[in-house]
């Protein structure tokens, strides 16, 4: 039995990710329900019904980081998925296809056996939410159709005008209620509203702990390199409504706060420049991107990513929960998106911005020019962009990245 109290944050992160996958496998074995969920879909509803949660995006990111993405992508592309589609989806749909073959034939396909993918079971239901993109609607439609299972949709309509209008929250709140009727039917028992309230409170504690960690990057020099947030993100995605994330993040925050108090910083004294990284990580080349910036004494202190999970709301208030899930910055008009990013850049005390033009993500790429323009006018900060992909390793050229960040670093240094 692992001693949680004795473990460092890094160990807790690994331990809980393994635990969550094990819980999902165990649930499947025991005939309990497993759900595959979009990363910012509300987990509270399913967790309240003791459904084991699996997160395809995090799962795919892990496969990408462990250099196993191409095998999964090949399976999806053979089924006819265009290489233009989101690589998270291709990796996951490829993985699902292999699990399906395994379930139908009783034999494990060689590609699956050789894959570094974490072992997770097929779902009994899926839940999706389009607060981070509409591709998640298409991807999950396909999962539901291929596996012949129910799909719960939480549709949070694009907020073309801010603030979020009441009628939008009405619609989202009604969907929460509809989701509950769907869950009652799927689970064959009434929804546990008491447990739900507890789960909402737990979610708020987890979110609070996440914010506590993320805010530490605003210190100059910073005890926290935001690349670490990319790694710890796994738990705010996969364990948001459990205490695993709360425990790990509070531990991490304590460690960082202690470092800060003792003058121990992430780049140890070599923090020359601070950047905000706008976009997803390049998982298959994560190490390269980190090392490249580090060699330029450039630390990442800003990212809009942590904010995606600042899902603060009042437990028991449907409209408050609705607002939290719909106000994600990429689900809002350009002006609001820019405001949120400006906040991130300023809090992080950034010297420059790096924009990831992600081949897999239209929503996070097609407004980069206008976003960069507006932010440049507001802040005067230099910026660069580069071509990359969140999980398809073929869409990144290390030489291009290195050249561009080096040029940015030189510009930032010259301005000091």
């Amino acid at each position: 039995m692992a001693d949680i109290n004795a473990m460092k944050a890094k160990e807790l992160l690994a331990h809980y990710q393994v635990t969550l996958d094990e819980e999902a496998r165990q649930a499947k074995k025991e005939g309990r329900l497993v759900c595959w969920s979009a990363s910012v879909a509300p987990p509270e509803l399913c967790v309240a019904m003791d459904i084991a949660m699996v997160y395809p995006e995090t799962h795919a990111a892990g496969i990408g980081a462990r250099k196993g993405a191409l095998d999964m992508i090949a399976v999806a592309e053979r089924k006819g998925y265009s290489l233009d589609t989101c690589s998270y989806a291709r990796v996951n749909l490829g993985y699902m296809e292999l699990l399906k073959q395994q379930a139908l034939t009783g034999e494990t396909p060689e590609v699956l056996a050789n894959s570094p993918a974490a072992k997770v079971p097929l779902p009994d239901l899926v839940i999706t939410c389009n607060n981070i993109c509409n591709t998640l609607l298409k991807w999950y439609e396909n999962l539901a159709k291929e596996l012949n299972i129910p799909c719960i949709i939480i549709d949070v309509p694009f907020n073309h005008t801010m603030p979020i209008p009441h009628y939008a929250k009405d619609y989202i709140a009604e969907q929460f209620k509809y989701a509950i009727t769907q869950l009652e039917e799927i689970c064959g028992r009434p929804f546990d509203y008491d447990r739900f309230y507890e789960v909402q409170q737990q979610t708020q504690r987890s979110v609070s702990a996440w914010k506590r960690v993320a805010s530490l990057a605003s210190h100059k020099p910073s005890p926290l390199n935001a690349f670490d947030l990319f790694n710890y993100m796994a738990l705010i995605v996969c364990a948001r409504s459990r205490d695993y994330s709360e425990i790990t993040f509070n531990k991490f925050a304590e460690e960082l706060e202690e470092n800060l108090a003792n003058g121990v910083y992430a780049f140890k004294g070599n923090e020359k420049n601070r950047i905000t990284w706008e976009g997803i990580a390049v998982w298959p080349h994560l190490s390269h991107t980190f090392k490249s910036l580090k060699s330029l004494d450039t630390i990442m202190t800003g990212s809009a990513y942590p904010g995606l999970w600042n899902l603060e709301y009042t437990p028991g208030d449907w409209h408050s929960m609705a607002e939290a899930y719909t106000r994600i910055y990429i689900n809002t008009c350009l002006d609001n998106k820019v405001d949120v990013l400006l906040d991130v850049i300023n809090s992080a005390k950034s010297d420059g911005v790096v924009y990831h033009q992600n081949r897999s993500c239209k929503l996070m790429s097609l407004l980069n020019v206008e976003t960069a323009d507006k932010i440049q006018k507001e802040t005067g900060l230099p910026y660069t962009n580069f071509d990359g992909d969140q999980t398809d390793p073929r869409n990144f050229a290390p030489a291009q990245f290195d050249t561009r960040v080096q040029a940015l670093a030189e510009t930032m240094t010259a301005r000091q």
Binding site: A74, E77, R78, L83, R394, N395, A397, P398, A399, Q400
Partner: protein
């Protein structure tokens, strides 16, 4: 009865002259393609080799990228159908054809009669085509003819993974500057072309006998890489660049017989 087929591609022109639908009297390839003197030169060479002239030809079918512009032919038929016809004649057990030319790659699925069941093509992108090999050979400062022999000397294929020819070019240049051996980079390039080809074959469904045609088939390094990736034998058609023209000549024969 003498019939003829001409296959006018982007990078080469091919002519086959056929007697009674089964005896090949001439099979010529000229390395210039559509919109040039290529087709005419190929015809001249074919007439010279067979000792025949235009008037001896009963029927004449054109295929390939440049077929529509070629007005002299009696009929135009797509190169997918012609490759199928030609390869089925040479190797009747063929069920899968992988044809990689100068600017496109195709996987063609046949039934027992040699009819086309389904096909998948890559014709918008240089990756996985002869053009990709051209670009890489230039970067490595080798000729296309040398690619096969150099590939045989490879100890460990380098990763050339990009979907984009331009990105791949930059990958290869990075590897050269890191001192990775040319032979290993070439093996990587072959694996990259193979990967694109296999992607098309998988969409089709793999079925023996698998036959490779097209100009790129002359580089055995590619067919070895495809064979390795599929875990299956890949047969290179005899005179692989002319199978389209052969099929066209057979189609011409069938049309002539119907009259």
């Amino acid at each position: 009865m003498i019939t003829m087929g001409i296959d006018i591609g982007s990078a080469s022109s091919k002519v086959v002259i056929l007697e009674n639908g089964n005896k090949i009297l001439a099979a010529e390839v000229v390395q210039i393609g559509t919109g040039s003197s290529g087709p005419r030169k190929a015809l001249e060479q074919a007439f010279h080799a067979s000792g025949l002239k235009q008037a001896d030809i009963e029927k004449f079918v054109a295929t390939g990228y440049g077929r529509s512009a070629y007005e002299d032919a009696d009929k135009q038929i797509s190169e997918i159908s012609c490759h199928a016809k030609g390869v089925h004649f040479l190797i009747p057990d063929t069920r899968t054809i992988i044809d990689i030319g100068g600017q496109d790659a195709k996987a063609i699925g046949l039934d027992e009669q040699g009819n086309v069941k389904q096909f998948f093509m890559n014709d918008k992108c240089a990756a996985g085509t002869g053009r990709f090999l051209d670009v890489m050979a230039r970067v490595l400062e080798v000729s296309l003819d040398e690619l096969d022999d150099l590939d045989k000397l490879a100890t460990e294929p380098a990763a050339v993974s990009s979907t984009c020819t331009v990105f791949a070019e930059s990958e290869v240049i990075s590897q050269l500057s890191k001192g990775i051996a040319k032979e290993n980079i070439i093996a990587g390039i072959h694996a990259s072309v193979s990967s694109k080809a296999c992607g098309l074959i998988y969409r089709l469904g793999i079925e023996d006998t698998i036959v490779m045609t097209g100009g790129v088939a002359k580089d055995a390094g590619v067919s070895r890489a495809i064979s390795k990736e599929l875990g299956k034998t890949v047969v290179t058609a005899p005179n692989p660049q002319t199978t389209g023209a052969l099929g066209a000549a057979i189609y011409a024969y069938e049309a002539a017989c119907r009259k």
